[in-house]
């Protein structure tokens, strides 16, 4: 497996060979700097650390400044580790979007859009209470029963309830890489990826 860090730009559509209109996501992927290569001997596991998107010195902690200085890299906003990186890289190398295989399938890890505190209808797809009539009042989107009565006399753990929704790490598997544009550092994926426009995503292939 190898991968790259990207930024979600937005969605558009294109036509495939059969003339069908397919939705696709535009991702600005790379160029990423290899900031560290971890190995079993030194760190206990194999991994490659990539960094993406420039940021100013005043926004970088001293600790991270030192980390980037080790590989003579400008300061980067997003640092992500990739396990089982198959492409041979050494610290200081630049990983560009052209390592992405066009037509192949990839997985995308992102952070979903935050929805705030949500009820059970939106959060867990509950149906709510059937109708507004038959004496119902104020409970169209209510949870309904919490479980059985005198036995067990408590709500069982894991009962789905209201609460915070979204802003979670989400992985979407098997998205086809439709096109790679190395000049513009753009990656076109089939379908949608999690998160808002401008959010960082991890592309694994």
């Amino acid at each position: 497996m190898s991968g790259i860090i990207g930024k979600k730009i937005g969605m558009t559509s294109m036509f495939n060979a059969e003339g069908k209109n397919i939705a696709c996501t535009v991702i600005e992927a790379g160029p990423c700097v290899v900031t560290q290569v971890k190995s079993v001997e030194t760190d206990g596991y194999d991994a490659v650390q990539l960094a993406f998107d420039d940021k100013k010195e005043k926004h970088t902690t001293k600790a991270m400044q030192g980390h980037f200085a080790k590989v003579n890299s400008p300061f980067k906003r997003k640092v992500v580790e990739f396990r089982n990186f198959t492409t041979e890289v050494k610290p200081g190398d630049v990983v560009k979007v052209d390592i992405c295989p066009e037509g192949e399938f990839c997985d995308v890890v992102g952070t979903s859009k935050g929805k705030g505190f949500q009820g059970v209808v939106k959060r867990h797809n509950f149906a709510g209470v059937g109708g507004a009539t038959h004496g119902q009042h104020n409970r169209m989107r209510a949870t309904g029963s919490m479980g059985a009565s005198s036995f067990p006399s408590r709500v069982l753990p894991g009962k789905r309830m209201t609460g915070h929704m979204g802003n979670d790490q989400v992985k979407i598997v098997n998205l086809q890489i439709l096109k790679v544009m190395p000049e513009q550092n753009l990656l076109i994926l089939k379908g949608a990826v999690p998160g808002a426009k401008g959010s960082y995503i991890k592309v694994e292939f």
Binding site: I9, G10, T12, S13, M14, F15, G19, N21, C24, V26, E28, D53, D54, K179, M181, Q184, N185, L186, I188, K197, G198
Partner: protein, 146 residues
């Protein structure tokens, strides 16, 4: 990154806007690469158009025509679509075409209509004589200019 944005600006048509929304321009650049450049005639809601589009029957491909009134144009860039309404055997039929679809071989503008709206959905509720659209008189000098 800065150099990259600057080079994008040079290629984009709308310089001042792209300074604000550079991510929007990355989409435009992506679209330019994804959708082949295609000339489309200038038409708007109220115009009568004939759309020539290819359909595949089994393994044969043939061209079909669809003539009607444009109800709306929707979207921008590569995802732009337009809706065409016609009355077929007394039943109203509407079809939405992606403007840049490779299946559309030609769009012919038959008549320019005079309408006051960009989306003429009121046409759905009227029929017969009331559903006529006044034709726009195009001056000969304008025609020559085109």
């Amino acid at each position: 990154m800065v150099v990259q944005i600057f080079s994008l600006l040079l290629h984009s048509q709308n310089f001042s806007q792209s300074l604000i929304h550079y991510s929007m321009d990355l989409i435009k650049i992506a679209e330019q690469n994804l959708i082949p450049v295609k000339e489309t005639p200038d038409f708007k809601a109220g115009d009568t158009v004939t759309v020539f589009y290819k359909i595949i029957e089994g393994n044969k491909e043939r061209e079909q025509q669809y003539q009607g009134v444009v109800l709306q144009r929707k979207g921008s860039g590569a995802t732009q679509t337009f809706t065409v309404r016609k009355i077929s055997n007394g039943v109203g039929v509407e079809r939405i075409f992606p403007l840049y679809s490779p299946k559309i071989t030609k769009i012919e503008v038959n008549k320019r209509g005079v309408v006051r709206r960009a989306r003429i959905f009121y046409l759905r509720n009227i029929s017969g004589k009331a559903a006529r659209i006044e034709e726009k008189i195009v001056k000969t000098s304008d025609k020559k200019a085109k």
